[in-house]
Amino acid sequence: MLADDALVLGHRLSEWCGFAPSPEEDLALANLALDQLGLARALFAAAGLDEDRYAYFRDAREFRNCLLVEQPNGDFAHSIVRQLLYSAWALPFWTAAAGAADPALTAVAGKAEKEAAYHLRHAREWLVRLGDGTAESHARAQAALEQLWPFAAELLDPPADPALPDPAPLRAAWEATVSATLARATLARPAACWPRAGGREGRHSEAFGKMLAEMQSLARAHPGAVW
């Protein structure tokens, strides 16, 4: 579940490479993508799983990532909102997981926490810039927020697992970060809505199949290829 979140978000971020609004942002998003892929690899390794088999030879139904991380990049505001909603949860999650009982998870969490901190800072600063920017950037950020908001609940309410941190304080931390950021960004909190979920059970959105087809095409065309 955690590895799939990291892998899928990392792949989505990597799709920006070469297309970001500025060279600096291209580097930033590629850097974030690299961190997420590194995190996925570390989590697969910690669980004793073969990373290539898990990344390239599973079908959509076998992935357990939440729907939020697989949402298409859309415009830049979409990707930033997606990143903020995810990172506002990831930072307190990895901070809490750093004190977990499982030493393998603790080791990964110690590194992930440091990286999640600057991922959140990046998303927060951009969302404030977009929301509190021009009429156009504000409208786009608000539209992205409305569209992605229903996907947050699945991230915040994971299947019960005694090995993972208690989700209640994480929800509170997420709420505090997101509320404060929306206020600074002059964005309106979307109305309560029916949550969109299913990724944790392998029921994914249509766009996810297309993403996997591209992500897996090389490995499936040339199994075992190395470079």
Partner: protein, 149 residues
């Protein structure tokens, strides 16, 4: 004999340079955790700077090559994550080399060319995962700074 092998293997491993920061060794960057002798092999333990650092595989190959070249193999290389690496692990010698290369060491804030403290961040994400792009407001030169982690 064995102590000598271990000492020479340690020196060989410590001299490997980071491919993204040529001139700086993995020992100076604090990426080299341990060099031991285990079951007849030299066992090297590394820690990554960033989880997704693409240079880790290359560093592993270069350590293996350096130790084998010295005729001290076989070699095994493994990575460990805990305790997590931080920029505090960079040695004083490493920081001096960064400065000499025109890269501001973590935690410092002065232009490497004119020494002015009037600098600004241009981009928090630089050419590699570990660096950011800054600019001096005095001499106007852009420069790289090692991120504090």
């Amino acid at each position: 004999m064995s102590d000598d092998r271990l000492a020479r293997a340690r020196a060989a491993a410590a001299s490997v340079e980071d491919p993204e920061l040529p001139g700086l060794t993995i020992a100076e960057l604090g990426l080299l955790r341990r060099v031991e002798e285990r079951d007849g092999a030299i066992a090297v333990t590394l820690t990554p700077s960033y989880t997704g650092c693409p240079a880790m595989a290359v560093i592993g190959w270069e350590i293996t090559a350096a130790i084998e070249r010295a005729g001290l193999g076989p070699v095994t290389v493994r990575t460990e994550l805990a305790p997590a690496w931080g920029t505090a692990a960079i040695s004083e010698a490493g920081r001096a080399k960064l400065r000499a290369m025109g890269i501001v060491p973590p935690g410092e804030r002065a232009c490497p060319r004119c020494g002015s403290a009037r600098v600004e961040t241009l981009a928090e994400f630089g050419a590699t995962a570990c660096k950011a792009l800054w600019r001096c407001l005095e001499c106007r030169e852009p420069f790289e700074a090692f991120k504090t982690l």
